[in-house]
Amino acid sequence: MKFPFKRCMATVWATLFIGPVYAADVQVAVAANFTAPMQKIAADFEQATGHRARLAFGATGKFYAQIKNGAPFEVLLAADDDTPARLEKEGLAVAGSRFTYSIGQLALWSARPGYVDGKGEVLKQGAFDHLALANPRLAPYGGAAVETMNKLGVLSALQPKFVQGENIAQTFQFVSTGNAELGFVALSQVVEDGKLKRGSAWVVPAGLHAPIRQDAVILVRGKANPAALALMKYLKEDRARAIIRAYGYQY
């Protein structure tokens, strides 16, 4: 049998030359709470479109400051809806590209099984030393946690026990190492495929705080990048939405 040299070479040429013409990279700033789903979505996105999403994770407030000072991000997946709107108003984001890619879900979580009950009564008993939450001044999940405790009437009693993470990822770290007995984290950090990964959790009912609308926006640097447009489109497709939902978000 003859080796199909020509056909093989055709594939090689195609990969070398045709590939890069259509596939582009896009620099994406991603809110820390969306880390896990975004890693999966980015992998699928690359397979589906050939474009590659390069991800940076962090606090939305920090990204805002960096973008204002010329950071090379092309898309922002924020943890709130204020920041993208503000960037658009300031001419740093593409007008009309903004949409809500998910609505965040707050959870009270402990690394210990059975520690957090299904109704959050543990907050009222207050038999713990440290309650972790994201800094409410910087992170929407921290703001929602404060709002929730306020509605439950336990805010002033619990305030002395607060330990604050700089963002929701650090808050999770405090609880997952057991240094804080429990804390308010993003549900996406503790569930996978709709199931709790470990410990115990109370999914905070939506009525206890204003919805955490998380908006995505194309930044001016990404205006002409086909990969940025493709990513925004992909986030609205069923495959991406299935992943987003599996991590406990709504949209």
Binding site: A59, A65, N135, L138, V163, Q164, Q170, T177
Partner: protein, 224 residues
């Protein structure tokens, strides 16, 4: 210009740096003495361990401290069994972390000063029938004074400048773990640049004055 929380952060930072420096001078002296005098094969290894915080990223120190001092970690189990609870998110925890973090900045200048004294003054003191302890306090310490000045200033200043470790194990608690560097970071992230400038400019001025003081009083002892 500075708010109450800013002042509280400044007070806390000075307290932390003061306690840390005092502890380090006490702990660092025997370590420096041993390193300066020993012919043991362990000298290299101990010297390297003391110097580790110079090269390790604060994230590594912070991460390991968080895990080690947590309820499942070896240090955390020890402190819990002693009835002290766990150390992260406490002032004591920050002191422990700062002692580790600033150790080389105190030990190395003292060690250099001890080495510079050499054998001769000790031998002379011994022929005059001074006890080793007497020799240490009446001969070694006065001769090593420039080293101690450098160690004190660097230990204090380096603890004031600490950020990453505190961020990772502090939990940002007002009056307990929210030091100046963390407060500045908060201001910057919350986009309150005016407040950030107030504290940040203060830090620049403080650091400059401290180093100026060191270089003026101690022109030969500037290197650690």
């Amino acid at each position: 210009m500075l708010s109450d929380t800013d002042w509280s952060a400044i007070r806390l930072t000075v307290e932390l740096a003061g306690v840390t420096t005092a502890l380090l001078l006490i702990l660092g002296t025997p370590i420096a003495w041993w390193l300066a005098r020993t012919r043991s094969a362990w000298k290299g290894a101990v010297g390297a361990i003391v110097a580790l915080p110079i090269v390790l990223p604060p994230t590594v120190i912070g991460f390991y401290l968080l895990v080690a001092m947590g309820p499942q970690g070896p240090v955390g189990r020890l402190t819990e069994s002693l009835g002290l609870g766990t150390l992260p998110f406490t002032f004591a925890g920050l002191v422990v972390a700062s002692v580790i973090y600033s150790l080389p900045f105190v030990v190395q200048p003292i060690q250099n000063a001890f080495e510079a004294i050499g054998e001769r003054p000790l031998e002379v003191a011994a022929t005059l029938r001074a006890s080793p302890l007497d020799t240490f306090f009446s001969v070694v310490l006065p001769l090593a004074r420039p080293g101690y000045l450098t160690a004190t200033v660097l230990g204090f200043a380096h603890t004031v400048g600490e950020f990453g470790v505190v961020l990772m194990i502090g939990g940002n608690i007002p009056d307990k773990t929210r030091v100046v560097s963390v407060q500045i970071y908060d201001h910057v992230e919350a986009m309150d640049y005016a407040a950030a400038h107030g504290l940040a400019a203060g830090m620049v001025a403080f650091s400059f004055l401290v180093l100026l003081l060191l270089y003026t009083l101690n022109p030969t002892g500037r290197r650690a």
